[in-house]
């Protein structure tokens, strides 16, 4: 019986997948490099990101300081690598919370339907109407003292309704497919249908949305840093770096340009990987 089910699943897959292309792998490599740098920043041969070398203030990019130093003589390359920790931790952490709560609820609601779905969906739409960015700014400005974990929790919770909506829509599209109905007729348990039929088909949509979600959160963290609501200086984060260097950017524009570049490249890669995956798995029904 299970062979028959597998065949159904196989048959329904789109036959010609959009190839991923070289750029996809380059982006994946860059993302991997960013994650590697963030995880192993302590072990890498980098100068202390908070050590101010007063004999080398505003140094240009060169051998001693790969990307130069800032107005306090701190190594920019090292600060960018350490700063990626904040961006990636907030991005990944918030999405773990958002998906951890939103995805199971979305799948369950789409599969069960009925009153459970109706109440939950109404609630999520009410929450969705509340502008998430305002809510985040508001809660973070009142919830003192500031800490990385609080930022992650607040952004994570704010993303739950969006994740819920995407996963619910995606699951509903799949739950009405013939192979799911066939499985149900054959007497498969709810658990089996959820994990063996729905999850593998919702997962690609989830992953591509997850990456775009991480990109959105990275931007949000940057904006919070500008408002002074992200991690406290001198802890390096890309947003903090750009924000702190604004006042001296006429003298040393590199201070603004390098962290901006780091952030844009990461965002470009996340968006590109997410977009390619989405068209690779040919998901047109889900509007992000």
């Amino acid at each position: 019986m299970s062979e028959a089910l597998d065949e159904f699943t196989l048959m329904d897959r789109p036959e010609k997948n959009d190839p991923l292309g070289v750029l996809f792998w380059i982006c994946l490599g860059w993302l991997g490099l960013n994650i590697f740098g963030a995880v192993f920043a302590n072990l890498l041969p980098l100068p202390d990101p908070n050590f101010g070398n007063y004999s080398a203030i505003n140094a240009s990019p060169g051998l001693h300081h790969l990307l130069g130093t800032d107005d306090l003589g701190r190594d920019i390359f090292s600060r960018i690598v350490f700063g990626s920790r904040v961006s990636l931790a907030v991005g990944a952490g918030a999405m773990i919370i958002g998906f951890g709560i939103g995805a199971p609820l979305g799948m369950l609601a789409a599969y069960r339907r009925g009153r459970f779905d109706a109440i939950l969906t109404a609630l999520m739409y009410v929450l969705l109407a509340f502008p998430a960015i305002i809510a985040t700014i508001a809660v973070l400005s009142f919830w003192t003292p500031r800490a990385l974990l609080k930022i992650i929790i607040v952004i994570g919770l704010a993303s739950v309704p969006v994740v819920y909506r995407v996963i619910r829509t995606a699951t509903m599209n799949i739950a009405t497919k013939d192979y799911v109905i066939a499985a149900r007729i054959q007497g498969a348990t709810d658990r089996r249908i959820l994990f063996k039929e729905l999850l593998p088909n919702v997962a690609p949509i989830g992953v591509s949305f997850l990456l775009i979600g991480v990109a959105t959160v990275v931007i949000l963290e940057g904006a919070l840093a500008f408002l002074g609501l992200s991690v406290n200086p001198p802890t390096p984060s890309w947003g903090n770096m750009i924000n702190e260097s604004r006042t001296v950017m006429a003298q040393n524009p590199w201070l603004v340009i390098f962290p901006s570049l780091a952030m844009c490249l990461l965002l470009l890669c996340l968006n590109f990987i997410g977009d390619r995956l989405r068209s690779h798995f040919d998901v047109t029904e889900v509007k992000l």
Partner: protein, 306 residues
């Protein structure tokens, strides 16, 4: 639905003060903490009553337009908001004019020849722009235009009010409006393009073609209206996002709109002002969403019939 949402938003905004550690009175009064102010505040907010009574007292005041008086700046929160709000509205209107003026023709051209050279170029450009956050765009614009080229009124802290000099006002809002327009352009272009391509597959377009109508007339008269539904829906969500996105841009250029005021209030721990702005902006965003829903029904009556 609208009432439910406004209720949730108001409870949320009200409850913010209670997220603060310690006695709310101490925090709200800040540097203005003295027995007289304390007595006034207790009376105004009913702080010694149960929390639900406090909410109703607060709500009653809000409905009457009384957002309280900041004990830090000694000015009424409502008048501060009234002074700042028009700047946000002007900024958003300007940015939306720019974004629509660029996105609609661009999407029309792209949709006419999908996967053509122009479509690919616009697609790649919009994708790249999608990955540049507004705060980076504004910082780079200031660096090149205000600092390197020395264009007047474009740098930080050079806001000119509309009442005093409208040319200077437009100059001082040019960079932030452009920055916000870029973010909107990308979203509008992508949504309208894919909708136009879908609409152009429909039978009534084939019919219009077979009648020998010009391709220009088909695009504007037949394809644009049914395709603009998702565009309007997106615009509603986007303008809500812009209010918040505009905060950072305003802050960086010290343009005294709501965003700048909000951030200054956060820095000074002026919590009544923060609470007031959060409430006004949230309700504004929700109102915009409902307004656009209404427009969408006008444009495509099929939706309300469903």
């Amino acid at each position: 639905m609208l009432l439910a949402i406004v209720f949730v938003v108001s409870v949320g905004s009200f409850y913010l003060i209670h997220l603060l550690p310690g006695d709310p009175a101490v925090v709200i009064l800040g540097t203005g903490d003295n027995p007289h102010n304390r007595a006034v505040l207790y009376k105004e907010l009913g702080l010694n009553k149960p929390i639900w009574d406090q909410y109703f007292i607060w709500m009653k005041n809000i409905v009457r337009g009384n957002f309280g008086t900041s004990f830090i700046s000694q000015t009424s929160v409502a008048s501060t908001i009234r002074a700042a709000l028009p700047i946000d509205v002007e900024l958003i209107v300007l940015s939306q004019i720019l974004a629509f003026a660029a996105a609609i023709p661009a999407a029309m051209r792209s949709a006419r020849h999908p996967d053509g050279p122009l479509d690919r170029l616009l697609g790649a450009t919009s994708f790249t722009l999608l990955s540049i956050p507004p705060f980076i765009i504004i910082v780079l614009l200031v660096l090149f235009i205000a600092i390197k080229l020395q264009i007047p009124h474009t740098g930080p802290s050079s806001y000119v009010s509309l009442a005093s000099d409208w040319v200077g006002n437009l100059e001082s809002l040019a960079l932030p409006a452009f920055t916000l327009a870029i973010a909107s352009f990308v979203v509008y272009y992508r949504v309208l393009r894919s909708d136009l391509i879908a609409t152009l597959q429909e039978e009534f377009i084939t019919l219009a073609r077979s009648k020998g109508l010009s391709s220009r007339r088909i695009m504007w008269r037949h394809a644009f209206r049914p395709s603009s539904v998702a565009l309007l829906g997106t615009a509603a969500v986007n303008i809500g996002g812009l209010l918040a996105g505009g905060f950072v841009v305003q802050y960086l250029l010290a343009i005294p709109g709501l965003g700048y005021t909000l951030i200054a209030a956060i820095a000074q721990s002026d919590y009544l002002l923060v609470q007031g702005i959060v409430l006004v902006v949230s309700v504004g965003v929700i109102a915009i969403n409902f307004l656009f829903d209404f427009f969408i029904n006008l444009i495509d009556p099929r939706i309300s019939r469903e």
